[in-house]
Symmetry: C2
Subunit: 204 residues, 2 copies
């Protein structure tokens, strides 16, 4: 695909770098912007650049934030002694949108994965351990993806804080709402049977 | 979906304005940019804004251009007496990518559509008529979408240039390559029979 203008081509190349956006979609987006007002497009570009330049990460939980402390950490109504450990900011957003969690978070920034060259030192683990110790955290709730790397990460952190009086829990594994028993994998099904609940307890 | 930062939220809102991009996809794109280098994201924003601010439209054919005349109009190797009339810039790009057309273009910027309130005055029709007259164009090839509005537009322009010795043609309608006869609409099939070609002529 040859484009009639270098400016157009550069803009398309920039959009095509984004995940899930190919050259054709990028062109569609750029031609859409071409029809918009100059000031609107200027604002679009500035908003994106400003977001990346000015955004901060919460010093306590490493969530994205507009200030030194994020809105969750600085919210007195939330249980500051309950920390939910997640891999990414996206997980925070997913859990927040359930409106069922009233504690705080700690974003690891990834999980331990030796095959990808990611060790504990590259993650926000040391700060988590310090935080649990300093804040006398009562419960660490792990909400990591259920795989070897997730389990390794939990195990590693658990050993690091073993000497502290902090309860360690993980989110429940089981059959998803709307899921079908017959298509569930054996491990999930087995765990959901082993961890069975009295009727009436699974919805609070 | 509540986001933990206003900066993030503004950026997501900007992306979500683009066609075919919802709030979830917008968030995915913004979180991707958040992981990129500050300078790269700055460059992204500037490239888009610069594209909209500095891009020009060819004074002759209204294609996008980096200068007063587009690369096609200023190319001496192309037949300047053959003009392909298209609706949008996207059509120019589509035809150019076939590498089968060696003339120039004229971008109307839309088609006559009274129901949408688009009349001949809002399109680049007057300039086309002047151009055909001044340049002594030999052939006008219409490559418009095959519908009532397209046919109306062709008819209107044809009447405007009726007094000039300019041949008027339209791209062929017929069964697409890879298309199946049994699923073709009657009109297309009927036209493709009426305009049948000797074997060997349909591929040049």
């Amino acid at each position: 695909m040859q484009l009639p203008s270098t400016l157009l081509e550069n803009a398309v190349a920039q959009f095509a770098k984004l995940p899930g956006i190919g050259k054709k979609t990028a062109l569609r987006l750029v031609l859409h912007l071409l029809k918009q007002d100059v000031n609107d497009v200027q604002y679009f570009g500035e908003t994106i650049a400003k977001m990346r330049r000015d955004i901060q990460f919460c010093q306590r939980c490493f969530n994205v934030s507009d200030g030194a402390l994020c809105s969750i950490c600085s919210n007195g109504a939330r249980k500051q002694h309950l920390i939910c450990v997640v891999e990414t900011i996206r997980d925070v957003i997913a859990i927040e949108s359930t409106q069922q969690f009233n504690g705080t978070y700690h974003v690891l920034g990834g999980i331990i994965s030796p095959l990808d060259g990611i060790g504990p030192d590259q993650l926000n683990i040391e700060t988590l351990v310090e935080r649990v110790e300093a804040e006398q955290t009562e419960e660490l709730l792990f909400a990591l993806n259920p795989n070897i790397q997730g389990d390794t990460t939990i195990y590693y952190i658990q050993r690091k804080i073993g000497h502290l009086p902090c309860k360690v829990t993980t989110i429940a594994r089981g059959i998803a709402f709307g899921g079908e028993l017959e298509y569930a994998d054996e491990m999930t099904l087995a765990r959901s049977i082993a961890n069975r609940l009295p009727i009436g307890q699974y919805v609070k």
